[in-house]
Symmetry: C2
Subunit: 432 residues, 2 copies
């Protein structure tokens, strides 16, 4: 496909017409496809259906003798469950807290503890130092941005490079004492799929920050969510922080929401001994202890780290063909057009599509008219505003492969319609 | 038993000696009994063991078609589960939120939402109006007090009357605009066992408050936790607030921690439509949704409100003999001595024992030396300080009936030792 930006106007008109025909034909199929969220498919979810009957009759005793049906026990959660996830989180079991069904809840709680009572190494409640700010590598995860925005934290976008954030920019911005934290999805990022390079992790761990109590909110949501046979590694941020004299800088989060059940799995937090003690102290006001029975259920089901990897391999077998289909369709329709670039992630849940500047909103609107919902344009940026109106997040996990193909086709055709609209307008202006 | 306070000194010496002998004999049994916490016994917990294998193979679909294994669904939790608890909470299902395994977590979250973002009818974040205060009917629940204290809220004790707090005092104190809330355990109170009288509920609902956004934190922890055949009723606070023009005043909390499993049950919140919308709006930053599978598990197990009552009847059959044994022992040993009064609750988890002024700490210490742990003296008051050093909370649910009898005996003998110590000192001073 020749570059649309340099295509002669008559050809461009003809090309647009052919795209319109395909778009109209697709629209007439009255599809209803939802690719807005990183939601595991029914087939993936069913991989964990043994959980529906676990732990089973008479099985309620943890390895340390704790009765999981009653109050009390370790506030960190069951040791045998923490052991399974120690590798994924990059922390020894004693530096892990498993609690609740969601990592975003633990991020929320860490943030509110910091706002209301401060963190180790700080001068008191962050809310007393308002206005404070968080760095936001963008495009990123809308729930991160909404969480901080909801509590009046200023969001400062930072560009991504394909191997993590622009660290020069991060270092410059973090020199401001008002900058208290930074959102990071360091592996198979949402939505760009990139993995923070070892050098990037090292610089984030070692950089000088204006705030002595600066925190990396390290959401390792996709730590074991590989899409290829290579289990890519991420540099260990807790070790890097400790090595560089900032042992309490990183708060690591994870969950099994996309490993076992979404919303009925396990939320996890890992950090330095001081941060874990801080977190559990604050948490002791909020909770008598985590749901130990769900942790036992997961320990019985996964058994060990090898069991965790066997399960994520099974997820990969279901997910990889959907991601391949997206690549095929986008390549066929958008390749060489010069009006779109997109990621081919080695893990995670998203394809990040950059369409022609100023056409993301229009593309999403056209796709919606054809019965295909993707994440609303702008949503992947702080305050919901994509300054270039170009990023679209595609979440191909839930529909089946054929539907994913149709949806990708619809999005690609919509992107081409939106681009040719603009290009033809520009030509008209030039011709006048 | 004659009143120790007027006993001739020789008799008092002899009496003390006999108490000492019994105490020493008990101590020599090297008991290790823990009555510190309202922890259900193993026998009670086992009543819900069907949960260990529920919902069971192939069962994951809620009444409204939601797949409980995946993200999304009603943020309020499953309708069929809310229906079971509507009577207990005194609210229609649409005004109920079920989330997590703990009511204290929901109280914590409501408080932090209020501190950081304000509540309906308020002028903004409570933290911006610091210092703020909460009224604390005392003796009360230590976790309530610790929660507010942890966030810098001033704790103001209010006396209890046997049918709820001294409302004259509450009205006087609540006129202060800095008073933003009040902790209430309105039914079978922790630890006094009292039930707020209808007139008390009405006055709390209708009183004028200095703060327009004053909130009753209404922890109905023992709503269905009867110890007699009479299912005592509590006036409906949400209806009373609505009737008296303060529809958003009450935040109602409850849980199944002492109905199904402690720490693996369900936490609940009920309030006005405006407060529920407020709570869910704030919560949408924290959570993608509650653990629906645990709600389905509970719905399958309890089936309906009648099932809930059948289960709580079974708890009563186990608990009531333990509470009766405490009454027998305390009556035998302390009745008529004039140095102790105690409650005989019709529900809940505690017996509240008032020993002679200035002897609670000493009593608890002596009991501990005899291998019997009760809640540390003072713990039932704000800041852990009982101004009269007289209240002791006894939690007889966990040990068996014989052990409960021994524990109550140990506490009573300790109270008598502590009292006679003081009385004999006083006589010595008088005699000099």
């Amino acid at each position: 496909m020749p570059d649309l930006r340099s295509m002669p106007i008559a050809e461009l008109h003809a090309y647009r017409e052919s795209v319109e025909q395909r778009y109209t034909a697709l629209k007439e199929r009255r599809l209803s496809l939802n690719l807005t969220r990183g939601k595991p498919s029914d087939e993936q979810i069913a991989l964990s259906d043994a959980l529906l009957s676990l732990p089973g009759p008479g099985d309620y005793t943890a390895a340390d003798g704790t009765d999981c049906r009653n109050y009390f026990g370790s506030p960190n959660g069951l040791l045998e469950t923490r052991q399974i996830f120690a590798g994924m989180l990059g922390a020894p079991p004693e530096q892990i807290v498993i609690d609740g069904v969601s990592s975003i809840a633990l991020m929320h709680d860490a943030l509110t503890y910091a706002l209301l009572t401060g963190v180790p190494g700080g001068r008191g409640p962050w809310s007393a130092e308002a206005p404070i700010a968080f760095l936001c590598p963008s495009p990123g995860y809308d729930r991160h941005f909404a969480l901080t925005e909801g509590y009046g934290v200023k969001l400062v976008p930072v560009a991504l490079t394909g191997h993590g954030p622009d660290v020069d920019e991060v270092e410059r911005l973090a020199a401001d004492p008002a900058v208290k934290g930074m959102w990071c999805v360091p592996k198979y990022s949402n939505p760009t799929g990139e993995i923070y390079a070892p050098e990037t992790v090292k610089r984030l761990a070692s950089m000088r920050t204006g705030a002595a109590d600066f925190r990396l909110f390290w959401d390792n949501a996709y730590g074991v969510h590989h899409l290829t046979e290579t289990r890519h590694e991420l540099a260990n941020v807790l070790e890097a922080c400790a090595r560089h004299g900032n042992p309490d800088r990183a708060l690591v989060f994870g969950s099994t929401s996309k490993i076992t059940y979404g919303g009925a799995g396990l939320g996890m937090f890992a950090s330095s001994p001081a941060n874990v003690a801080w977190f559990l102290d604050r948490r002791s006001r909020q909770s008598i202890g985590p749901d130990k029975l769900n942790q036992l259920r997961h320990a019985r089901f996964l058994r060990d780290e090898a069991g965790l990897h066997r399960l994520t391999d099974a997820h990969r077998a279901i997910l990889a063909p959907k991601f391949r289909r997206v690549q095929e369709v986008l390549g066929d329709l958008l390749g060489g057009t010069g009006v779109a670039t997109w990621t081919d992630p080695a893990g995670g849940y998203f394809v990040s599509l950059d369409v022609m500047d100023g056409t993301a909103k229009r593309t999403v609107e056209l796709a919606k008219q054809a019965g295909i919902q993707v994440t609303p344009a702008g949503r992947t940026f702080p305050y919901g505003k994509d300054p270039l109106d170009r990023n679209i997040r595609i979440a191909p996990s839930y529909p089946d492969v054929a539907e994913v193909g149709l949806a990708a086709e619809g999005v690609a055709l919509s992107a081409l319609l939106a681009a040719t609209e603009i290009l033809l307008q520009q030509r008209a202006v030039t011709a006048r």
